[in-house]
């Protein structure tokens, strides 16, 4: 049972990495990162349940961790997308191929 969930999360993680590596639209890259984060969250929850089944001290640690991941994701979206908009206003593009300078 655990392996099923781990397989799913592994595939999602791989998809996310593939998206980050192959896409050039920075927004799509952000979305792929969300996929990766979700795969991690899934693992946290699955292991949390496993922990519960073998009688760990707190069966909800994984879920609490997942909540923090969500917080990070929300913060990342707010700042990251703000950056994307600022970038778009200045450069008129959202392709990472065109944003290769550290300073302009």
């Amino acid at each position: 049972m655990l392996t099923t969930v781990l397989t799913i999360s592994g595939l999602m993680f791989a998809l996310g990495v593939a998206g980050v590596l192959t896409r050039r639209n920075i927004i799509v890259i952000f979305m792929a990162i969300e996929l990766i984060l979700n795969a991690a969250n899934l693992n946290f929850v699955a292991f949390s349940r496993y922990w519960a089944s073998i009688g760990g001290i707190s069966p909800h640690t994984g879920e609490v961790f997942a909540v923090f991941v969500m917080v990070v994701a929300a913060a990342e979206a707010a700042v990251g997308l703000g950056l994307v908009i600022a970038l778009y206003r200045n450069r008129g593009t959202v392709s990472v191929d065109d944003i290769d300078l550290l300073k302009w």
């Binding site: 397989t7 799913i8 792929a32 699955a46």
Partner: protein, 191 residues
């Protein structure tokens, strides 16, 4: 909600169904030509993950997932896509035709394959069990209603109180950052 569900074949079936859904829509996310379609697919994938959470007994997390991701983060994404003109297909520069697809496949196969193999080789004794149920604790008003929210809340505010504060600080910084980024635009216009 129904304690006997997790040991039933329905449980495994639900996990697999949600998992397939998540993986299928997840692959649409990275292959869709228009960002807005990718965003829609991501919404779908996130819902599937929320479904997985719910099946695994993390109901609070499922609700938070939909509320935070779909209602908040994804609306932001769609908003930004609208601002930067997401209708147009993104120009993907490919040195060699099809190399991108090839790379994606290789990545998925290598990373995904190794993770899956690793998971498969894990101990078969791993068994998922539901968290503490209301049926066991007489405190809840209604038998059968999971105490997941209460438990996560207790954990969050006792054992994880410090990380919780740190996370709230992070959110504050993010808000300030977003405000600064948004303000920067007006400064540009004035000069």
């Amino acid at each position: 909600m129904y304690p006997d569900l997790q040991s039933s074949p329905w449980f495994l079936g639900a996990v697999i169904a949600f998992g397939l859904w998540a993986v299928a829509t997840g692959s649409v996310v990275i292959t869709a030509q228009r960002p807005v379609h990718a965003a829609l697919a991501l919404v779908s994938a996130l819902m599937a993950v929320a479904g997985l959470f719910a099946v695994l007994g993390a109901e609070f997390l499922a609700g938070a997932q939909v509320l935070v991701y779909v209602g908040g983060v994804m609306v932001l994404f769609v908003f930004v896509i609208m601002v930067v003109g997401g209708g147009r297909k993104t120009a993907e520069v490919e040195p060699v035709s099809g190399v991108r697809f090839l790379a994606a496949t290789v990545v998925v196969l290598v990373i995904g394959g190794s993770i899956v193999l690793g998971a498969r080789s894990a101990q078969p004794a791993f068994e998922l069990r539901p968290g503490p149920r209301a049926a066991a604790s007489k405190d809840a008003v209604r038998a059968g209603v999971s105490r997941n929210t209460e438990d996560v809340g207790t954990d969050l505010y006792t054992r994880a109180a410090l990380p919780f504060e740190v996370a709230s600080l992070l959110l504050l910084v993010a808000i300030v950052g977003a405000v600064v980024l948004a303000k920067g635009r007006r400064v540009e216009q004035d000069d």
